[in-house]
């Protein structure tokens, strides 16, 4: 089982690197979306500092949304998904490995570039570590929750639009606690309670999301 999981993660990561642009595009989108705000809101440092956490988090949600559509779609179209389902491994494990590979190639890069963007937006330095911690807890939750949506819209036309309608409302709790953690830390309060809530969300989605996406995948392949 463990060997199968490692093989699957390696396959997906290698695929992501070879056909490359998908994960790079998510990061580029994230950076661009954040950089647009100073132009729209104006270069007033105080205002930017006040809304920095919100801007970064909303951009991160949208960026992770962007690559989610491809999570199962490519394998579905070329018949690989059918064969993956027919391997002697539980479908839930398969989903979990695909989500983990997706997070490694598109969630983790967001965590890494986030402090740079926080700097651009004049965020208080005290908020930096909280931002990274919140994103480290939050982005895997986004990938997990998004996987359910990606499995549900499989095979439908205009799946991408449908996917955002389904999934963005479910991202709201992650957004609320993510922003609250950063704001608390930036203003000198404890970020820990918010981070604990985010860890709770992550644990809950870790249990529920693979199971729900596996059910949706079975439906899609029937």
């Amino acid at each position: 089982m463990l060997r199968s999981a490692v093989i699957l993660v390696r396959r997906d990561v290698r695929l992501a690197f070879r056909q490359g642009m998908d994960s790079l595009m998510a990061v580029a989108f994230f950076v661009l979306a954040v950089v647009l705000f100073p132009f729209g809101v104006g270069p007033e440092p105080n205002i930017l500092a006040r809304i920095a956490a919100g801007i970064i988090w909303v951009s991160a949600l949208l960026a992770s949304m962007l690559s989610l559509e491809r999570l199962f779609q490519a394998d579905y179209e070329d018949g690989s998904l059918e064969l993956l389902v027919l391997q002697p491994i539980p479908l839930e494990v398969l989903v979990a490995t695909k989500v983990f590979a997706h997070w490694l190639t598109s969630g983790l890069p967001l965590v890494v570039v986030a402090p740079l963007l926080a700097l651009i937006l004049n965020m208080a330095p005290e908020g930096f570590w909280a931002l990274m911690a919140a994103l480290a807890f939050g982005t895997p939750s986004l990938s997990l929750i998004g996987a359910v949506g990606a499995a549900l819209v499989l095979g439908s036309r205009r799946g991408g639009v449908l996917l955002s309608l389904l999934i963005l409302p479910l991202y709201i709790p992650v957004l609320i606690f993510g922003v609250a953690a950063v704001d608390a830390a930036a203003e000198g309060f404890a970020a820990k309670p918010h981070l604990m809530m985010m860890a709770g969300i992550l644990l809950a989605s870790l249990v529920l999301a693979p199971w729900a996406s596996a059910a949706a995948l079975r439906q899609a392949l029937e």
Binding site: S4, L15, D78, G79, S80, E82, L86, P88
Partner: protein
Amino acid sequence: MGAFSAKGLACVRGERTVFVGLDFSIGPGDAIVLTGANGSGKSSLLRLLAGLAPPAAGTIAWNQEDIRKDPNAHHARCHYVGHLDALKPVLTVTEQLTYWAALRGVSDSGMSEAILTALSDLGIAHLAAVPGRYLSAGQKRRVNLARILVAPATLWLLDEPRTALDDDAKRRLDTAIARHRANGGLVVLSMHGGDRPQGAITIDLTARSALGMAC
């Protein structure tokens, strides 16, 4: 090795009944050829047998035990070849075969030899290092068939395996099927015309389908 059987099988796609009352029972070395008009349910039946979809009625059993009781055990014993060849454009032939075989528990030490044997059996040993995007339709089909040779499994479910194959490849496929049956394997394949495997049981789905009854 075991016995593969189906009883009172029915398939419904959307609102339409595709076929009803299908029974068969085969043992080691046996083969079933599915024939029938387009839309008579050959692919649907193979998907039911693989466990991709549940039958609308009836049971499919391996050694008298319903395959839906332990799906992973069923997946481990069967190989399915569908209409799509499941090849990634950016991975080489060897890489793709390695992934599928490793998931089936082929050990790292025996891997390269198993892949080389499978590729030469299908006459494409020279394609081992070629990425999927440079392969023709027939070559892709050969690679997909090589996949089922690398990791052994008892039951082969082949959906029109001869599509896109040239005469040489068809002969190689027939040899592989004959050898699989000689080793006690079971084969269910769908086809249009051509030579049927020796001693195979033919099931004509048109006769059992809604199409046949309307005639």
